[in-house]
């Protein structure tokens, strides 16, 4: 199917390796990165009508990939304990304490905020660069990140006082 983005196969030929690198760097797991690349291009293909053309195709794919990988990381954090309880042999106690930080970060913020935070603080993009990737204004991005900082500080404060 031809889309405003171009043919899915052509998109993959051009951007597949870069998207694979993005997924691999985020997930740090070769098999998971492979699955992620496939999923990113399938999503791009299925949702091609949503591509407005304001951003370049690569930027759009990069955002889909980042969002998808964050979902996977969030899922990993959530299911780690559950699955270990499900498959672990008797006597093996999952190390829950080691996951608490990751689990909290991934469970308490919505997907878009997580995306903004990752692009800004993990990837080191400027506010303008983040705004370009997520197709929001610089002002909105700055406000959302500032709100996140405020919430985090409040959470930390309440924990310290507890």
């Amino acid at each position: 199917m031809a889309t405003p983005l171009g043919n899915a196969a052509d998109l993959f030929e051009r951007y597949g390796p870069a998207i694979h690198r993005r997924c691999r760097d985020m997930l740090r797991d070769s098999d998971a990165a492979h699955d992620a690349v496939q999923e990113v291009f399938l999503r791009a293909h299925r949702h091609a009508a949503r591509f407005r053309g304001d951003a370049a195709p690569f930027t759009w794919l990069y955002r889909i990939a980042t969002t998808y990988c964050l979902q996977q990381l969030r899922n990993r954090a959530r299911r780690a304990a559950k699955l270990e309880a499900f498959v672990a042999p008797e006597g093996v106690v999952p190390d829950l304490a080691a996951r608490i930080d990751l689990q909290r970060a991934f469970s308490e913020e919505d997907e878009e905020t997580l995306l903004l935070a990752h692009l800004r603080w993990v990837d080191g993009l400027t506010l303008e660069e983040v705004a370009e990737v997520v197709e929001l204004s610089r002002k909105t991005v700055a406000k959302r990140l500032e709100d996140l900082r405020t919430r985090s500080a409040a959470r930390l404060k309440s924990e310290v006082e507890r």
């Binding site: 043919n7 098999d31 492979h34 699955d35 690569f58 299911r79 699955l83 370009e132």
Partner: protein, 243 residues
């Protein structure tokens, strides 16, 4: 501004798509920076390796399947061609089977609401019918699940000598949902021994990995509403007078 460009800018540079983006100012830096040039060279070599990998080929195939339009009413000539292909294929299959003097593979298929569990039984080196026959010690069982529903995960549990085992998903990292129409192997080959007599194999439908927990195996084996297929196994006692 950071000392070096973010990865996004390097990717755009490599793709020659920096122009017109807010990362464009990084171009001069990349061109004059030995570290960034080295990073670009490394990325280029990764790209070449990935492009020739089996994984890229797999995704190409998958995307081609996805992009294929739904078939409209089949044209007569196409069906005619297919009939010829099928006829030739069937004839070839029969000839091969006769040459090998092996019975045709006969599967037990347990059809449930969410898919079908296929069981191949290997008996004395041959695949034979499993339906209703007691298993013999040393038989092998190969299990496959064909999903009839999107976004589901099939879980198979075996209760064997009081021990319960989950065969699929085998590890959390490979617990991808099974798409409609996709067939997956479930846990490799089970070798039949005396302890499997009275065992029960079951497949459970779950919407996602989050629907699975410690009680899932219990539900699966006890026959809860999400159970898609079950199979009770019995083992033929060894015959003959050997002590």
């Amino acid at each position: 501004m950071n000392e070096h460009p973010p990865r996004l800018a390097l990717e755009r540079f490599l793709l020659d798509e920096l122009a017109g983006t807010v990362t464009e100012p990084w171009r001069e830096h990349v061109l004059g920076c030995a570290q960034c040039t080295e990073a670009i060279t490394q990325m280029r070599s990764e790209d070449a390796a990935y492009r020739s990998s089996d994984r890229m080929r797999e995704i190409r195939t998958r995307l081609a399947q996805e992009a294929r339009p739904e078939p409209s009413a089949p044209r007569r000539s196409r069906w005619a061609r297919r009939s010829v292909v099928l006829a030739v294929g069937s004839a070839a299959g029969i000839v091969v089977a006769l040459i090998l003097e092996r019975p045709p593979a006969d599967q037990l298929a347990i059809k449930g609401g969410f898919g079908t569990l296929y069981v191949d039984r290997e008996h004395e080196g041959r695949v034979t019918a499993a339906t209703g026959e007691p298993l013999a010690i040393g038989d092998g069982l190969q299990l496959r699940w064909s999903s009839a529903a999107d976004g589901t995960i099939a879980v198979i549990g075996v209760e064997r000598g009081g021990q319960r085992t989950v065969l699929y998903p085998s590890t959390p990292a490979r617990s991808a949902p099974i798409a409609r129409g996709k067939t997956v192997d479930l846990g490799g080959r089970i070798v039949v021994d005396a302890s499997i007599d009275g065992a029960r194999i079951c497949v459970l439908y779950a919407r996602s990995i989050f629907d699975l927990d410690a009680s899932t195996t219990e539900e699966c084996l006890a026959g809860g509403p999400r159970v898609a297929a079950r199979l009770d196994l019995s083992v033929q006692a060894p015959s003959g007078g050997a002590p």
